[in-house]
C-alpha cells in the first residue's frame, strides 16, 4: 500500500552475486514464524539467526516479565499522577479518610495490579498458538538454522560474529534498540519490522495504542530502514492486516505481525531482483513514540472493555458500510 501522504524517492543498492541474510529476532512464537518464513522463502541465503534473550527458541523472550513492568511503572509513574497536595486535601475533606483510602487502593491496583498485564500475556500466547501454530508445524520442517541465543545483540563480540557472516541483509524483528555498529554490518540494507503504523505510532505496543485511540486506520505494520530514532527510518512498506470481527486485541496484534513478515519478504525479493527500491522518508515531529512503561493496566483494561463491547466488529462493519 502506497503511503499517500509521504514523498517517495528511489534508493539504489550494491548488486553483488549473493545476498546473505542474517536475522535478529525475539523469542516468542511470532518471532519464530518470522525466522521460519524468511528461511522458507530465501533458503540457503539465510546464513545466521540470532535470538535476543531466552534459553531456547520460542521461550517467550522479548516480552518483559510482568514484575519488571510493574517495577518500571512504580518507579516512573507517581501514584496520583497529576494530583497535587491541595487536591488530595480537598478530596480528604469532602470524602473522609476511609473513602480516600479506598480510592487510593483502587488507583494503586489500577496502576500496579498484575491482572491486566497477566491476562494479556496469557491471551497473547494463546492467540499466537492459534494463528501461527499449524503454520509453524508445517514450515519449521524446512528450516535449516536454529537460533544463536544472545543477551545483547549490540555486544561487540556479537557484532563481530555477525560481521564475519558478511550479510547483505540484516533483518530485525523484536528485541532491543539496535546500535549503529550493528546496523552497519549489512552490506546492502538493514530492515526492521515494526508492528505499528509509522510515523503516527512508533515505539512499543503501538497496536494497543491504536486500539486504545479507537483508530482502526492506524492498526497496521511498517517495514522500514532502521535509524537511531526508534521506528522513524525511511518506510519501505506499510499496510493494514486482514482482521476477523470477534477477535481480541492480542489476535489483532498477531495478524499485524504476520502481515509485517510478508511485507518484509516482498521487500527483500524486490531488492534482490532490482537492487533499487522506493522509500518514503518519515517526517520529523509527526506522530508519537510510545514507551513500554506508558502502557499501564488502566490502558489495557480500557482496550479490554472495548473488545468486550464488540467495538472491533462494529468498526469493521462501519468501514464496510457505505
Amino acid at each position: 500500500m502506497i503511503p499517500r501522504e509521504l514523498t517517495p524517492r528511489k534508493i539504489t543498492l550494491p548488486s553483488p552475486g549473493d545476498h546473505p541474510i542474517v536475522l535478529i529476532t525475539g523469542g516468542a512464537l511470532r518471532h519464530l514464524r518470522f525466522a521460519y518464513r524468511i528461511q522458507q522463502e530465501f533458503g540457503q541465503s539465510v546464513v545466521g539467526w540470532y535470538q535476543v534473550g531466552g534459553r531456547r527458541p520460542g521461550e517467550g523472550a522479548g516480552t518483559r516479565p510482568t514484575w519488571m513492568r510493574r517495577l518500571a511503572l512504580a518507579a516512573g509513574d507517581p501514584l496520583f499522577a497529576g494530583m497535587k497536595w491541595p487536591d488530595l486535601k480537598r478530596y480528604l475533606s469532602e470524602h473522609g479518610v476511609l473513602t480516600t483510602a479506598r480510592k487510593a487502593g483502587k488507583i494503586l491496583f489500577e496502576r500496579l495490579g498484575p491482572g491486566a498485564a497477566f491476562r494479556r500475556q496469557r491471551r497473547m500466547i494463546a492467540a499466537e498458538r492459534r494463528i501461527f501454530g499449524r503454520e509453524i508445524e508445517s514450515i519449521e520442517r524446512g528450516a535449516r538454522l536454529e537460533p544463536v541465543v544472545v543477551d545483547d545483540p549490540n555486544d561487540p563480540d556479537v557484532v563481530a560474529a555477525i560481521r564475519a557472516l558478511r550479510p547483505y541483509f540484516l533483518l530485525t524483528h523484536g528485541g532491543p534498540i539496535y546500535g549503529k555498529a550493528l546496523l552497519e554490518v549489512a552490506r546492502g540494507l538493514a530492515i526492521n519490522q515494526h508492528s505499528g503504523w509509522s510515523p503516527e505510532f512508533k515505539g512499543s505496543n503501538t497496536t494497543d495504542w491504536a486500539l486504545y485511540h479507537r483508530s482502526l486506520d492506524h492498526v497496521g505494520c511498517t517495514v522500514h530502514v532502521p535509524i537511531s530514532a526508534v521506528d522513524a527510518g525511511p518506510i519501505l512498506r506499510r499496510s493494514r492486516p486482514c482482521l476477523v470481527g470477534d477477535e481480541n486485541p492480542e489476535a489483532i496484534f498477531a495478524r499485524v505481525v504476520a502481515l509485517g513478515t510478508e511485507l518484509m519478504i516482498d521487500v527483500v525479493k524486490e531488492i534482490i531482483r532490482d537492487h533499487e527500491i522506493t522509500v518514503y522518508d518519515q517526517p520529523a515531529h509527526t506522530g508519537r513514540t510510545w514507551l513500554a512503561s506508558e502502557l499501564t493496566g488502566r490502558i489495557l483494561r480500557s482496550i479490554e472493555r472495548d473488545y468486550r463491547d464488540g467495538w472491533l466488529r462494529e468498526e469493521l462493519q462501519r468501514v464496510r458500510s457505505f
Binding site: 502506497i2 510478508e262 464496510r320
Partner: protein
C-alpha cells in the same frame, strides 16, 4: 454430517487487507482461517477437487461428506497462500478469473468503490451519481448494484481515476493474478475458470444482454488457461434475489458443454448437475467448529 458435496467460496486469502478490498465484506480471509477450515473439514469428511466432486455426486459415490474450495476473482495471493495450504491436504482448488483483470486492462469496479472510500472519493461519486437517481442517505454499494449500468460504471471509473495516482492504479491491478500466476496454479492441478471479462452483474436484468459476450471475451482472451471441456462459467455479483428471470434460459441458449456456477449459499445436489448448475456456500471468516455449524445449516 450427512454425505453430501459442499463447495466453499472464498475470494482472497491474505494477511493483508488492501484499500481495494477493505470495503468489501468477505473479500479476504486470513491464511490461518483457511488452514483451520481445511483441517476441520478433512477431519469430518474428505477434501476433493471440483471435478472429483462432480464425478462422485453424479455417480452417488459419497462415502463421507465431500468439500471443495473455490476462489473467485483471481486474486494473486490465492497462489501465495491458498495453494500451499491446500497442497498440504493433497487437494486442488478452483479459481475463477476475469480476463481484463488478468491483463491489467481494468480494475474490478467494486474494488474501485472500496478504494474511493479509502481516499475520501465517495463524496465526489455521490454527487456524480445524483443524475442517475442516487439520493442522500442511500447506500452507495447497494445503489451501484441495484442501478448498475454502463453510465454508472463509467462514473465510478472517472472518479476513481481522478482520485488516484497512476502508481496507485498500477499497484491496485497487481492485486490480481497475472498469466504466469495462473499458469502456476494450472500446473499444480487447479481449475482455472471463466468469471467474465470484467465482473459486471451479467446475471441481473441490467446486464443480462451482455452475458454471452462477457464470458466469450474472457474465453477468447485467456484461451488455454481456462478449463476446456466442460467449461465453467462463474456468474459474477450473484445475488439470488436479484437474478434475472431469464438467466437460466439465456444460459441454456448458449449451448456447449458447460456448468453455470452460482453462489446461492446452498449445497449442490444431483438434480443441479442435471441442470448444469453448481452452487457454493460463502465461507464465513470463523473457526472450524463455527464453519461446520454454518455448513450443517445449509
Amino acid at each position: 454430517m450427512t454425505p453430501s458435496w459442499t463447495i466453499l467460496l472464498y475470494h482472497n486469502i491474505s494477511w493483508e487487507e488492501t484499500p481495494g478490498s477493505r470495503g468489501i465484506e468477505g473479500a479476504t480471509h486470513p491464511p490461518d482461517v483457511l488452514r483451520e477450515h481445511a483441517a476441520t473439514l478433512s477431519r469430518v469428511g474428505r477434501l476433493v477437487s471440483v471435478e472429483e466432486g462432480i464425478r462422485r455426486l453424479r455417480s452417488g459415490d459419497l462415502p463421507s461428506p465431500l468439500f471443495s474450495f473455490w476462489f473467485d476473482d483471481g486474486l494473486a495471493d490465492v497462489r501465495r497462500y491458498a495453494l500451499p495450504i491446500l497442497s498440504e491436504h493433497g487437494v486442488t482448488g478452483a479459481v475463477s478469473v476475469c480476463s481484463r483483470f488478468v491483463d491489467r486492462k481494468e480494475l474490478h469496479w467494486q474494488f474501485k468503490l472500496s478504494f474511493l472510500a479509502h481516499v475520501d472519493g465517495l463524496r465526489i461519486l455521490r454527487s456524480r451519481l445524483r443524475k442517475h437517481g442516487f439520493m442522500t442517505g442511500m447506500s452507495l454499494k447497494r445503489f451501484t448494484m441495484d442501478h448498475c449500468s454502463e453510465a454508472v460504471l463509467e462514473a465510478v471509473s472517472r472518479v476513481y481515476e481522478g482520485c488516484t495516482t497512476p502508481e496507485e492504479r498500477a499497484a491496485a491491478l497487481e492485486l490480481f493474478a497475472d498469466r504466469d500466476g495462473l499458469r502456476e496454479l494450472q500446473k499444480a492441478g487447479w481449475l482455472v475458470t471463466n468469471h467474465t471479462a470484467a465482473h459486471y452483474p451479467v446475471g441481473e436484468d441490467s446486464f443480462i444482454h451482455k452475458l454471452e459476450d462477457q464470458f466469450a471475451e474472457c474465453a477468447d482472451e485467456l484461451g488455454d488457461l481456462l478449463a476446456g471441456s466442460p467449461e465453467y462459467w462463474v456468474l459474477p455479483c450473484d445475488r439470488p434475489m436479484h437474478r434475472s428471470p431469464t438467466l437460466l434460459e439465456c444460459f441454456g441458449q448458449t449451448g456447449g458443454d458447460r456448468y453455470l456456477i452460482l453462489v446461492g449459499n446452498q449445497r449442490t445436489e444431483p438434480d443441479d448437475l442435471d441442470r448444469r448448475l453448481l452452487f457454493r456456500v460463502c465461507a464465513p471468516a470463523c473457526g472450524g467448529d463455527e464453519l461446520l455449524r454454518v455448513i450443517q445449516g445449509k
